[in-house]
């Protein structure tokens, strides 16, 4: 059991539940990633932007619901096993309860049409947030001239060819990894070879 990981201020379990509960509550319309960045990186500074991108990359490689994977990864980084369980539960519960309530109403012949206008406005707002978040993340990529061209290439490939996300990240990700491949000192023994900086 590894608990020697975290770097920045480690939040308590209650703080984690609060942060992820808020993410779960507000993840309307598919902009979940936005809330991860705004809450975990932006507002609370639990992880650096780079760490969050790293966790996001892993979650894209994993099967299953992406935000749920990300909750487990980030929760684990911040609070070990208990953190992972707390993060996942706190994130999915608010939406799950609401879904259950709507389900009960629906299957009992109730009308959901009263709230649909609300979601009609909520959808584009969430999409706008997702765009803003993506632009913020992209702005940071411009700093690395060696790899920034991969960003528009990724966008073009996804929009034109519509491949599965996993294929995109494996193929284009491999290109990115190749750009930053370690050089010099061939085939050193694993780990112990001390890395500078």
């Amino acid at each position: 059991l590894s608990d020697e990981v975290t770097s920045a201020p480690t939040p308590g379990l209650a703080a984690l539940i609060r942060a992820f509960g808020l993410i779960g509550l507000t993840s309307f319309g598919g902009a979940t990633m936005t809330y991860f960045f705004q809450e975990i990186v932006g507002r609370r500074h639990y992880l650096s932007h780079e760490e969050m991108m790293d966790q996001l990359a892993i979650s894209e490689l994993l099967p299953g619901a992406n935000p749920a994977d990300l909750a487990v990864l980030v929760g684990r980084r911040l609070g070990g096993l208990r953190g992972a369980i707390a993060a996942l539960t706190a994130m999915i519960l608010p939406g799950a309860i609401l879904m259950l309530v709507l389900g009960v109403i629906y299957f009992h012949g109730g009308q959901l049409s009263l709230i649909t206008p609300f979601f009609k406005g909520l959808g584009p707002a969430a999409a706008g947030l997702a765009l803003a978040n993506a632009l913020q993340a992209s702005g940071r990529e411009v700093r690395s001239l060696r790899s920034v061209w991969l960003l528009p290439v990724t966008v073009a490939v996804v929009l034109l060819l519509r491949p599965a996300t996993l294929i995109v990240i494996v193929v284009l990700g491999a290109v990115g990894v190749f750009l930053f491949r370690p050089r010099g000192t061939p085939s050193a023994p694993t780990e112990s070879s001390g890395s500078p900086s």
Partner: protein, 119 residues
């Protein structure tokens, strides 16, 4: 509906077996992937001194950023249907970028605007 899209499985579980069914189906879909994510996460952390670790980290971020851009494009295409929804989306983008409001208030504001427009 808020939360990950897969919460709809819960509705089917509810239809089939009531509240208990909803909870069971919800757990069944999350637990296996969550266990895998946990294991992969700890394995990845234990490799942080591996010489390829930083290469993988730095190499994947432009692709992830590109995926975020593409995902927001698909979200916009699905939700922006006319001038009013385009205005809501643009306002949300500008507000978040200028850090003038927190994201929760922005989506709620969008919801209220939608309700006023379409009810």
């Amino acid at each position: 509906v808020p939360g990950p899209g897969s919460t709809f499985v819960e509705a089917i579980g509810f239809k089939a077996a009531g509240v208990g069914g909803a909870l069971v189906s919800l757990m069944a879909i999350y637990v296996p992937a969550a266990v895998l994510a946990y294991v992969v996460g700890s394995r990845w952390d234990s490799l942080r001194n591996w010489r390829w670790h930083e290469a993988i980290q730095r190499g994947l971020t432009p692709v992830v950023a590109g995926l975020l851009i593409a995902a927001s494009y698909f979200l916009l295409r699905a939700t922006v249907t006319n001038l009013a929804t385009a205005t809501i989306a643009a306002a949300a983008t500008v507000l978040l970028l200028s850090r003038r409001a927190n994201p929760m208030l922005i989506v709620l504001g969008g919801g209220v605007a939608g309700w006023l427009l379409y009810h």
